[in-house]
Symmetry: C2
Subunit: 311 residues, 2 copies
């Protein structure tokens, strides 16, 4: 029996664990990986207090702190969270293992949106990727496409432009929404071709990808572009199936929370990108994780008043 089960090992989950473990609560973190969406980031420079580094490197630091303070960490996937027979919660992992805990902190983040076009499933892991940092280097000296116009897409462009011969930026809109400082850097990349107002309609190949077919949204004209990889960077969505019969969700399928990271179910807290919070940023998720951890500790101590930490 754990005091706290944290589901998700990204910025929110690991920070929640840092806080509950420091309160000497028996804390288990279960995540499909360590790092969550930060694993998809090759370069983070806006997390206060740390120099620019890769997403996975920053998350490794979070992990080390959580473990140092006594949290346990297991890689695995929770399929379902239910109320216990009398009290507390029983969570079932996809391997059938059950975990009992007095409280649960939901911090499982988001899953990437996919293109949902012919060829995408077939070539997933064989050229189609949602992680530039992980898979970009496999296509050194080749031509690749990156789909999307936000920070992740543009950071990805900057990365692969360093080692790919040609990079196609496929964006359904005319304007990029990445931060201006990031866009400025992109202007120096010589080997990037911007294909705006355009969507991917098919991914073609045999053993690997050979080309993508794109369509101009205005002219409806199609064009085939020879690439060996497609990086899909078009945002994320919440996969809240594991708690859909437990807690209240928003119309956008996010876990509804109040300003203390409480869900509508006593003993269940939530933090970060899987919640109704308006902003998706590492430092914001970390802050929310700290709130969830502190509120969870308050709940377990009987909830009598709030011990404000003036440290």
């Amino acid at each position: 029996m754990y005091d706290v089960l944290v589901i998700g090992a990204g910025a929110a989950g690991l920070t929640a664990a840092i806080y509950t473990a420091r309160k000497k609560l028996k804390t288990l973190v279960v995540g499909v990986d360590v790092g969550g969406q930060m694993n998809l980031t090759s370069h983070i420079e806006n997390y206060p207090g740390t120099p620019a580094m890769t997403g996975p490197a920053l998350m490794k630091l979070f992990q080390e702190q959580a473990v140092q303070f006594g949290a346990e960490l297991v890689i695995g996937k929770i399929a379902k969270v239910e109320k216990g027979a009398n009290w507390g919660f029983v969570s079932t992992m996809t391997n059938g293992e059950k975990i009992e805990s007095k409280t649960v902190i939901l911090a499982f983040g988001l899953v990437p949106n996919m293109l949902e076009v012919p060829g995408e499933d077939q070539f997933f892991g064989k050229g189609v990727s949602t992680c530039v940092t992980c898979d970009g280097p496999l296509y050194k000296g080749r031509a690749v496409a990156i789909v999307g116009g936000g920070n992740s897409a543009v950071e990805g462009l900057l990365e692969v432009a360093n080692y790919c011969t040609k990079v196609y930026s496929i964006h359904r809109r005319d304007k990029y929404t990445a931060d201006p400082v990031t866009l400025e850097r992109l202007q120096k990349a010589q080997n990037v071709e911007f294909v705006k107002n355009t969507v991917v309609v098919e991914i073609k190949g045999d053993l690997g990808i050979k080309s993508i077919v794109v369509e101009d949204l205005a002219t409806k004209q199609k064009r085939e572009i020879p690439v060996q990889a497609v990086f899909v960077q078009i945002g994320h969505k919440a996969d809240t199936s594991l708690v859909k019969s437990l807690v209240q969700l928003s119309p956008k399928n996010e876990v509804a929370i109040d300003d203390r990271c409480r869900t509508n179910i006593e003993g269940v807290f939530a933090a970060g990108d899987c919640t109704t919070i308006a902003f998706k940023q590492t430092v914001i998720s970390a802050g929310e994780g700290a709130k969830a951890g502190l509120e969870c500790a308050r709940f377990l101590s009987g909830g009598k008043g709030i011990t404000i930490d003036w440290s």
Copy 2:
């Protein structure tokens, strides 16, 4: 004319500036110091992503990032923030200088609570201090008292126990509210005397402090304890006088905000410990600062929809 005036240069204010500067908004940060309450922390180990360090060292890292991205930083005190004649805001510094800005982010934190007993004013800066990290080393080899029972007080005890001959921990309650891991460390300190359920009623001395008079809250018995310094670590309060006629305040005198760090006045945002937020922690203030910065940028860009940053 600045796009953004950030008032306060602690975790919330500096993070807000990191975010607005990255959006290429002309940003000025005005703070009475750099670091805010973190300057009072000798050891922070629960800020995710960084190793244990002093509060000022961590805040220096925040500052460097804000400046690196283009924020300007001025040390000074804002006396009043008012709406401009037509639009925007005019802020007046205590030296009379005026600053015009399109928006304002309030992040001026809290000020320390004082004992309000005879001798406190007289010996402030001559033995009475609210900063163990700053002033503790001056009393190496002497006896000192630390008043309070939270993390700041106990961290302070741990610090001065290393170099003071004797440390008196004066606490009005029986239980300490510091984190258990911190309290565990305290048990090893041999030269700390715990004086619980007790308050300081007077501070005595001549050129410097010679003793404090304390009173047991149960027995009403008084006792004189010979010390050369008194560190007051009994929490903080919001000093919102500079905006009291501008924005809505809570009954506790905090700036009222919504979940996007908006105040009731358009163009004025607030973040961190000076707001109605329930938790006072560095990482939480940093997260709130990021929210305020992003929401401010959204407001200045016309507020049309929300550009979610998926980075």
